[in-house]
């Protein structure tokens, strides 16, 4: 029994063109990170469908994946980001709900946990409200950093924007977030 040599992400997608079954491995490798990103933005319930759709869309488009243009992970995040954009209202609703949690403790196990975790830092409601207040473009950049942990270079590729623009959007968003979190803001 010799273990199959570890095949890299891009080679796996390429191999799946002729052998579609291999795309299941693409799923297994990347599901956790894509889920973290989508569920973070839309909540666990809406994420279930959007994450599944992300991989279905990627599977159908696998022939167009070009390793020369970037790695598999940013490619998947690009697809996921486009799908998330179709649920903008759900996303905003989620942030508003999180913002409300500090003021009036809510039912619901998970949200309670979140409330405890973040309000321990004394900043959750303002942070959630600040996120809801960002523009879509700023939010894409912020969440690709915070949840997807992509580099600026990768984010530029995901969003199809110049490298420098990633930095400037991020700076602008950071300023807004910090202003919302300033102690004088209270909350």
């Amino acid at each position: 029994m010799t273990a199959a040599p570890e095949i890299d992400d891009a080679a796996l997608v390429t191999a799946s063109r002729d052998d579609p079954d291999r795309f299941t491995d693409v799923y297994d490798r990347h599901f956790p990170v894509i889920h973290r990103y989508v569920a973070g933005r839309l909540g666990a319930q809406a994420a279930e469908d959007v994450v599944a759709e992300t991989f279905l869309a990627a599977f159908r488009r696998r022939a167009t994946f070009d390793p020369a243009k970037g790695d598999v992970r940013p490619w998947l995040f690009g697809i996921a980001t486009n799908l998330v954009a179709q649920h903008r209202r759900a996303e905003t609703r989620r942030y508003r709900a999180l913002a409300r949690l500090g003021a009036e403790p809510d039912a619901g196990g998970h949200e309670d946990r979140v409330a405890t975790a973040v309000s321990a830092a004394g900043m959750r409601p303002s942070l959630a409200r600040a996120l809801a207040g960002l523009s879509r473009k700023e939010r894409d950049v912020v969440l690709l950093v915070a949840l997807a942990e992509l580099s600026h270079q990768e984010i530029a590729a995901v969003l199809g924007i110049p490298f420098g623009t990633v930095g400037s959007r991020l700076n602008r968003a950071r300023k807004k977030l910090r202003a919302a979190l300033a102690p004088t803001q209270g909350d």
């Binding site: 973290r36 666990a44 279930e48 599977f59 979140v114 969440l143 950093v145 915070a146 950071r174 979190l181």
Partner: protein
């Protein structure tokens, strides 16, 4: 404080096993059975859940009287599969449809007009009734010249009651316009008054539309049923084999004859309903499916749009609805159903893929056998030499 870290912490939603499994299951289904186009795919994958049936009465009657036979290769002899020298009327009827399918004319465009729905039994103090809800329709108009575009339209026709008896029970309940139903793991509310007209959904390339095939490959599919069976029923594309190839255990129910037959019915259903498969190949696909173990021929049935047809069906499978996902107690329990692919006998066109109740129970305990639990019906399909567009009247 690093705000990025705080955001990540605040938004953390640990993935559930259920979400991971569900996504993988959908992907595997897509791999096994790539359907057409972006939106179309989500919808055309023949339904796994349940829908109500149409003219449940007609269908029930048909189940009761239909002559069932499973077959050997039809190419050997028209009557080879008939038991004990009797003529298998179901097989004969499907063979007639298959011969007719081979005679269709083709053209420069291909079009298909599908509608899918799901049945819900609505409890009411004055008597339960069944509605056909979550309906969605897709119209695809595909140019077949190299590089031609494929245009999708969609509409959401809104819910309807199934039979005159259901309509009467709905009226007795006060003709409610908003109807709340339990759907797998959540409550949905349907608006009986809601209808939506066709709207343009988008344009795809031929490649996106056809999935694993090219137009040329479709043209060159074998017209011999046995050769075609090798291509269409490639074991590697079955759900069980996909699990096995990944070193996972294959649950026993995926290996039953009923499951495997239903899987093959879906594979053929997709090819016959979504793809411009040449007429002679359509005919061969029907014969190939009829020869598979566990596939039975039905001489007379009714589809969800009330059309009479002949069918190929799987054996009955049992589905047990538990309280695991919060299903109300009154809807839990086991029921039996089978997968039917219905054809028009005169043209050989596929009319519908339907999951039909065989043994009442669980959510369908007060329904009759023949009740359609869920379906995709092909309202119209074929070739033309002018660019096809959705019908103007109905959505």
């Amino acid at each position: 404080m690093d705000e990025m870290k705080a955001i990540a912490e605040m938004l953390n939603e640990p993935p559930t096993q259920k979400a991971a499994d569900e996504g993988r299951r959908r992907l595997r289904r897509e791999i096994a059975n790539p359907s057409a186009g972006r939106r179309a795919r989500a919808r055309f994958g023949w339904p796994f859940k349940a829908g109500l049936g149409i003219v449940a009465v007609g269908a029930a009657a048909a189940v009761a009287v239909s002559v069932i036979g499973s077959g050997t290769r039809p190419s050997e002899s028209g009557q080879a599969g008939a038991p004990q020298g009797e003529i298998d009327l179901g097989r004969q009827a499907v063979l007639v449809a298959a011969e007719n399918a081979a005679k269709q004319e083709t053209g420069k465009y291909f079009f298909a007009n599908h509608v899918s729905g799901q049945s819900y039994v609505v409890p009411a103090g004055t008597g339960a009734y069944a509605i056909d809800g979550a309906r969605s329709a897709t119209f695809v108009a595909a140019g077949l010249e190299p590089g031609a575009k494929v245009t999708y339209y969609e509409s959401f026709p809104g819910p309807r009651t199934w039979t005159p008896a259901d309509e009467a029970a709905w009226k007795k309940a006060g003709s409610p316009s908003k109807i709340k139903v339990w759907s797998s793991d959540k409550w949905l509310t349907f608006d009986m008054a809601k209808k939506a007209p066709w709207k343009l959904d988008g344009v795809n390339t031929q490649k996106e539309w056809l999935g694993r095939y090219t137009l040329e490959e479709l043209q060159n599919l074998p017209t011999d049923p046995e050769k075609l069976a090798e291509e269409a029923f490639d074991p590697a594309t079955t759900e069980a084999e996909m699990l096995r190839s990944r070193g996972l255990d294959v649950p026993a129910h995926l290996k039953t004859e009923e499951f495997v037959a239903a899987e093959k019915i879906r594979m053929v259903g997709w090819r016959l309903s979504d793809l411009p498969v040449p007429p002679k190949v359509r005919s061969a696909l029907m014969k190939a499916l009829m020869a598979e173990p566990g596939v039975q021929a039905v001489g007379e049935t009714t589809d969800p749009l009330g059309r009479k047809g002949v069918a190929l069906t799987s054996g009955s499978r049992t589905t047990t609805v538990t309280g695991e996902f919060g299903t109300p107690p009154g809807q839990r329990g086991a029921y039996g159903s089978r997968m039917e692919l219905v054809f028009d006998k005169a043209t050989g066109n596929a009319l519908a893929m339907q999951n039909v109740l065989t043994k009442p129970g669980g959510p369908y305990k007060d329904r009759e056998p023949g009740f359609v639990i869920d379906y995709t019906a092909i309202r119209d399909m074929g070739w033309s030499d002018t660019e096809p567009a959705p019908p103007r009247d109905a959505s």
